[in-house]
Symmetry: C2
Subunit: 519 residues, 2 copies
């Protein structure tokens, strides 16, 4: 796209068309400026077919807020809408609406409370509650889902991969397999969820982090095509980058050419007082090659160089590689723990696409409408009880047990404060018979999860840095039971609703069902 | 991101970091301005686990060219690079390189020949050949792969979904599950590959297409919360959009409330001389509901309204729905063919993420280096013969048999012209014993696939419209054997290399292997 086109495609028109026809309908029916509430939440943890997440890492809000603050309907946007016509040749958008949009087409009246980025989150709990005039809250839907679904999906996957890699160096490499500029949102989310660095240079510049990388196969290929050798190429790299020399050893033959040549170059570096960083394995049986490479490196006295792995890595592949090393390394005379500690991971395609489950099922649903100074709850029925909305003005809490572990998230009505109760009743959100009671003595803390982000368009909180989000993430992960963090078949974390919310929901379901029978 | 940050993240720094360290190394070794050739190709058709594509639809080049023409390294980009340092505290980029980049950091010397967007393409065939100075051709890698991999992936999936839907109305709905702004590239690719329209309003504005959509569940919910009914909401919609009235019938109960209410509204529209568009089914058993809805609509005389389906659709789900309708509709007294012809498809998540295989494995490999006015072929070995590059300066052709069907793609050396030969020898690209001979009499046409796009940065072709790309797509699909187009287990299309290319490859492999043994 040309820059002018990008502006058009990524500005206020970055929305599904029905949001705009809805906004016009709301105006025509005097609903456009009625205050409403939409909840954003996801229904299920990502399910990667052979395994499913037991928690998610929340991400994306800051970039959504930037988008909201930077965009308002421009003359160009409105000109495009004006010339659209129906199959019968009539205009779709009328001047009264387009005039309203020119004046009110911004997010200055929107209020958002949300769970901060980096926090552990669970299904059904509102991650963001949007309140504001119906028309603009409706138009916001597409951009909100676009920003929050993807970044939460990727932050979650990154956390899982970090867990599998036992906190070893992890670099995000996915730009070449991302959805165009989505590479930047993906890299940001990966950095929030688990990656230490990214190879994405522009995004690193924006976040003020150092970008990272190794070298290209094409460097070695070019040296060879010109009559030189892999060793010459390695040496040229070491000469230019003596303090950050990490050599890719698989262009010709990893064990017969790459690693021996790397060792030669490292020996020269050592003589000159430099510390070589290590090698990168990018193809073949990575566990086997890591053990054999470690042998060669150790024999040459390079015990502490990194062995950096890449090639279709994700949490399952890394888990398998580590398991294979634990079994095989001792047989080959290598200390498995020492080897595992020096491993690093370059994670590309399978992280930035969340391979196996490439979308979070997050949704944005109308849950309340304000009329004559009262919040009227809204509901959407479904034949699947688990898919029926939690209606109304709400709040969300996390309950910690006496071991300081998070034991449940609780969704209540907005006016309830569970901290004031002596006994907590935790009701399953869709199964009538399933509930649990917690006495005050079993609870160490009840923490409100939602924070005010913007009030009528104005930022009312300090936006945290990536590093602060990572601290939130680590704290929340420490407070999770290890069963919930299992990579495969995790223990199910409890998300509950209060009795009052349960009763409201039942009342609404019954009245709607009666409505259908009558109708 | 803030607009200034977006500029930084999506400009020339939209690249993997190693491209920049490589560029500096090439400059230091007097290789930066040496002319080289990189080939872009993919190795495998997308494999969606239970099924695999038998062809791909090429897409993405135009936006890559826009990116190349709009971006050059700015002072801000270079300032970021200047302050980066190694773990030992030394600068990574030196002034000579940063000065070179300030002057030469653009794509004005790059030449690209490529296969046009919209065409059917196959593994191993170069979809784009990039020639130019080594440093900038290297830096281009990340953006090129990012643009071309994703759009080709999505255009391919869209073509398959269109095939399953038998050319019925198809609208792209994926923005909310895309990777941030990647939604725009995804929608564009979907429009090239198979979608008739998209709900993405901004992208439609850029391409000058009408955006499409239906209405929101939240409209119906809001009416009900305020004491009105689904019928009131439908009527309000019909009043405002009498010529494009497509009603979403599942907010309360599809068959007991939604469809009967839609029929009431349609009857009023008809009386006023309007033609209602139809209904949308967005949950439940879509095949069953389509049949039952068709019954109700037909009984009321609305035989020709659209029944628009959505909810996790892809080619397999649509195939299954159509099969179920073919079996069940006649039992329920409905003409299956008539019903299938009135179906439309809203395709979201599973198209824009290419669910099941969320990345094309396209790669960008150095295949030749120009030295003293001669092209020296470059190669990268691999233990898997199928992964060894086709080296050197090349060309690509499509061979049509006497039924005008494409029978093979042929990769030759640049100087070869298979149109001059009486007998064509088609060699399997990696199996030594597999080859096939075609006599001139068996061939109706030999078509060159690669077209000059830019020469030293300047556009040298007319860039086609989306509509022209769709025509190319339809022509190419007509020339494919139907076995190749099967959704599941397609017949394998032949991609071959010429004898000369085969011999060059073997010679290079042998000389490199000797090099390793000697080393």
């Amino acid at each position: 796209m040309k820059p002018q086109q990008k502006k058009l495609a990524e500005g206020s028109l970055f929305t599904d068309f029905y949001q705009l026809t809805m906004a016009q309908l709301y105006l025509r029916n005097k609903l456009a400026e009625k205050t409403v509430q939409f909840d954003y939440f996801f229904r299920n943890y990502p399910d990667y077919d052979s395994h499913q997440a037991g928690y998610c890492i929340n991400a994306g809000m800051q970039w959504l807020l930037d988008w909201m603050q930077d965009n308002r309907f421009t003359k160009k946007d409105i000109d495009f809408l004006r010339q659209l016509s129906t199959p019968a040749g009539n205009r779709i958008f009328y001047d009264d609406f387009l005039g309203w949009l020119a004046k009110n087409g911004n997010f200055d009246a929107i209020t958002i409370t949300a769970i901060p980025e980096g926090r552990v989150v669970h299904p059904g709990v509102p991650l963001a509650i949007v309140r504001g005039p119906f028309a603009m809250a409706q138009i916001l839907e597409s951009a909100l889902l676009n920003h929050l679904n993807y970044q939460t999906l990727i932050a979650t996957r990154a956390a899982r991969i970090r867990e599998a890699g036992r906190g070893g160096l992890m670099i995000e490499f996915g730009m070449r397999r991302a959805q165009a500029d989505g590479a930047n949102a993906g890299a940001r989310a990966a950095l929030i969820g688990g990656a230490d660095f990214t190879s994405n240079t522009g995004l690193s510049a924006v976040l003020n982090l150092p970008p990272k990388g190794t070298h290209a196969h094409s460097m070695v290929q070019a040296f060879i095509a010109l009559g030189m050798t892999e060793l010459d190429a390695f040496q040229a790299y070491a000469d230019l980058y003596p303090d950050s020399c990490l050599l890719v050893v698989d262009t010709i033959d990893t064990l017969n050419s790459g690693v021996p040549n790397a060792v030669k170059v490292f020996e020269k570096l050592r003589k000159k007082g430099h510390k070589p960083l290590g090698i990168r394995l990018d193809s073949g049986d990575l566990a086997y090659l890591a053990i054999q490479s470690a042998k060669m490196l150790n024999e040459a006295g390079f015990d502490d160089t990194i062995i950096f792995l890449s090639n279709q890595l994700d949490e399952m592949v890394i888990w398998q590689i580590i398991t294979q090393i634990q079994k095989q390394a001792p047989i080959d005379g290598i200390d498995a723990d020492h080897l595992i500690k020096r491993l690093g991971y370059g994670v590309g395609t399978r992280l930035i696409t969340s391979a196996g489950n490439a979308a979070l099922d997050g949704i944005y649903k109308l849950t309340a409408v304000r009329n004559q100074n009262k919040w009227l709850p809204a509901i959407k029925l479904s034949e699947t009880p688990a898919k029926i909305l939690n209606p109304g003005y709400k709040n969300a809490w996390r309950i910690y047990d006496n071991r300081q572990k998070a034991t449940a998230d609780l969704i209540t009505l907005g006016e309830e404060d569970p901290r004031r109760l002596d006994v907590l009743n935790l009701h399953h959100p869709s199964e009538p018979q399933t509930s649990r009671t917690l006495d005050k003595s079993e609870i160490s803390q009840i923490e409100p999860l939602l924070v005010d982000f913007i009030k009528e368009g104005k930022l009312v909180c300090d936006l945290p840095s990536i590093d602060q989000m990572r601290k939130l993430r680590d704290t929340d992960l420490e407070h999770l039971n290890s069963g919930v963090k299992r990579l495969v078949n995790p223990h199910r974390y409890h998300v509950s609703v209060s009795n009052k919310l349960w009763n409201l929901k039942q009342r609404l379901i019954n009245s709607r069902k009666k409505g259908v029978q009558k109708g």
